[in-house]
């Protein structure tokens, strides 16, 4: 549920700030950075040392987001579009590196890495929850504090500036908080897809687009979505299916449905 909460609000914040309903924390390279970090640690220290895997994932996801920001700098400015494009480049880079690691190491380790990139909850213990909670709460609180500014940022760069906002600096803050919220949970669960993309859309559908309500609401919607997905993953088969597979399988068609409804409303 913590995972869902983080993903819900991060997705909602980033979509609003970058004025793009298709953005997710994953698109900025956070997830592939985390996956690479996790893989790196698994490759070096093996699967027994989960103690190393989490910090390595957090570290590399922050490195990835830093890289995304540096690449998107153009003439000393960061625009929303260049940020998204740079994120895609960084994601591709880390995915490539991840594949390289998978080829180079022993097959049983590769198996662990694959399980990690699909995303699962059944290996997560209370100790992991304890280590990721502080960062997650920091990220969530940061985003909640910023929700009025996020609304202003969504007016577009020039208009936000003419309303007296230091657009570039505040956008960095928003992305930073969203990144730590995401990294804190992704580092223990692996990459559980679609939650961050779809929860904000469900929430928008229920409470409207204004971040004042959207952000807090997306926390609970994200958490609920995860809870349901987890329940399905535990009960549908004789063994537990990684929850990331469920969220993707459920998320994709649900997203299509919401997309059609939203398109109708927006046009």
């Amino acid at each position: 549920m913590l995972f869902g909460a983080c993903m819900g609000i991060s997705g909602a914040s980033l979509q609003t700030t970058l004025r793009n309903p298709l953005v997710s924390p994953y698109i900025l390279g956070i997830s592939s950075g985390a996956a690479f970090g996790a893989a790196l640690s698994i490759a070096f220290w093996g699967t027994g040392y989960f103690f190393f895997t989490q910090p390595s994932a957090v570290l590399w996801s922050l490195i990835a987001i830093f890289l995304t920001f540096s690449l998107s700098r153009f003439r000393g400015h960061y625009s929303s579009v260049s940020l998204v494009l740079a994120g895609i480049i960084v994601s591709a880079l880390f995915s490539g590196l991840l594949a390289l690691i998978q080829i180079l190491i022993e097959p049983e380790k590769t198996h662990t890495i694959v399980a990690w990139t699909v995303g699962r909850l059944h290996t997560v213990g209370w100790r992991d929850v304890a280590t990721s909670t502080p960062l997650a709460i920091l990220g969530i609180l940061g985003l909640l504090v910023f929700r009025w500014r996020i609304f202003l940022l969504s007016m577009g760069d020039e208009e936000a500036k003419s309303l007296g906002i230091d657009v570039e600096r505040e956008r960095v803050f928003v992305v930073f908080f969203a990144s730590i919220a995401t990294a804190s949970v992704v580092s223990v669960t692996g990459i559980i897809g679609w939650v961050c993309l779809i929860s904000p859309h469900i929430t928008r559908f229920i409470v409207g687009s204004n971040p004042k309500i959207l952000l807090p609401a997306s926390i609970s919607v994200g958490a609920s979505f995860m809870l349901v997905a987890d329940l399905i993953s535990r009960t549908i088969w004789t063994f537990e299916i990684p929850v990331g597979i469920i969220t993707t399988l459920v998320g994709a068609p649900l997203f299509l449905y919401l997309m059609r409804r939203a398109m109708h409303e927006w046009s």
Binding site: W148, L152, M155, E158, S162, L163, G164
Partner: protein, 254 residues
């Protein structure tokens, strides 16, 4: 007292000068219309006046040098209505309008007082019925008025508008310009760009005619709008009629 005083304003990208040493003054509560061909630097000039771009030269609003202020302080002096606004999310009109309170609020959320303020401005512009509509569903004219309402909620001393009448039908054009005329009575100085010399003559106090980043002529309509100036700037022969002190400019087709 002088509303806006611009002296030797210069701006360029890399080597190319876009604005070349512009100087002009607009009195408090007056409307200045900036005319000029596409690409003559009208929008750039407006963006320099609210410091979206960083020009050289001095620029005073009611004797304050706003280039020395931070963004938030500038936004309390200058409101800006862009030519284009592409809505992404279907926010309510009232929420969009209340965002004009931003420079007065900082990080705190808008209060009931701020919403009252926004409703008041909507009432004044005759937009009360739109308050709870999603602003993605508005017509071009309504959207323009909503953006003007947002800028007014900012309580600026100077209102900058980038082609406020473009893409509007005749009725909405006149409506927008009448509203601008009405707000100058509250001591707000209006600077807008446009393409219609006749409308500029009727609705503004001063006209600034520019071409290639330079001022060709500046002053009252009767001094600026003549056949020589129009031919020089637009390369078009025109006939000019005068009635009630206003000038009406029509192109001559031979």
């Amino acid at each position: 007292m002088s509303g806006v005083k611009v002296k030797e304003l210069t701006f360029g990208y890399d080597e190319k000068l876009v604005l070349d040493h512009l100087s002009f003054e607009v009195s408090k509560g007056e409307i200045l219309a900036i005319l000029g061909p596409n690409g003559s630097g009208k929008t750039t000039l407006l963006k320099c006046l609210n410091m979206l771009l960083k020009p050289k030269g001095s620029f005073l609003i009611e004797s304050f040098d706003i280039s020395k202020l931070n963004k938030k302080e500038i936004a309390k002096f200058v409101g800006y209505v862009p030519q284009m606004h592409s809505p992404v999310f279907p926010y309510k009109v009232i929420d969009v309008v209340v965002s004009g309170r931003a420079p007065h609020l900082g990080f705190s959320m808008p209060t009931k007082q701020d919403y009252n303020n926004a409703h008041h401005v909507l009432d004044k512009l005759g937009l009360t019925h739109l308050a709870d509509r999603p602003y993605t569903q508005l017509s071009g004219g309504q959207l323009r008025l909503v953006l003007i309402a947002r800028a007014l909620v900012q309580q600026p001393k100077v209102l900058l508008l980038d082609e406020p009448t473009s893409h509007l039908d005749l009725k909405n054009r006149v409506l927008v310009l009448k509203i601008l005329r009405a707000i100058t009575s509250e001591g707000i100085t209006v600077i807008m760009s446009g393409h219609d010399p006749s409308l500029a003559s009727v609705f503004s106090d001063k006209i600034l005619l520019m071409c290639n980043g330079k001022i060709v002529s500046y002053g009252e309509a009767k001094d600026v709008l003549n056949r020589e100036n129009i031919a020089k700037v637009y390369g078009v022969n025109v006939e000019i009629f005068e009635r009630n002190g206003n000038r009406y400019v029509f192109p001559v087709v031979i």
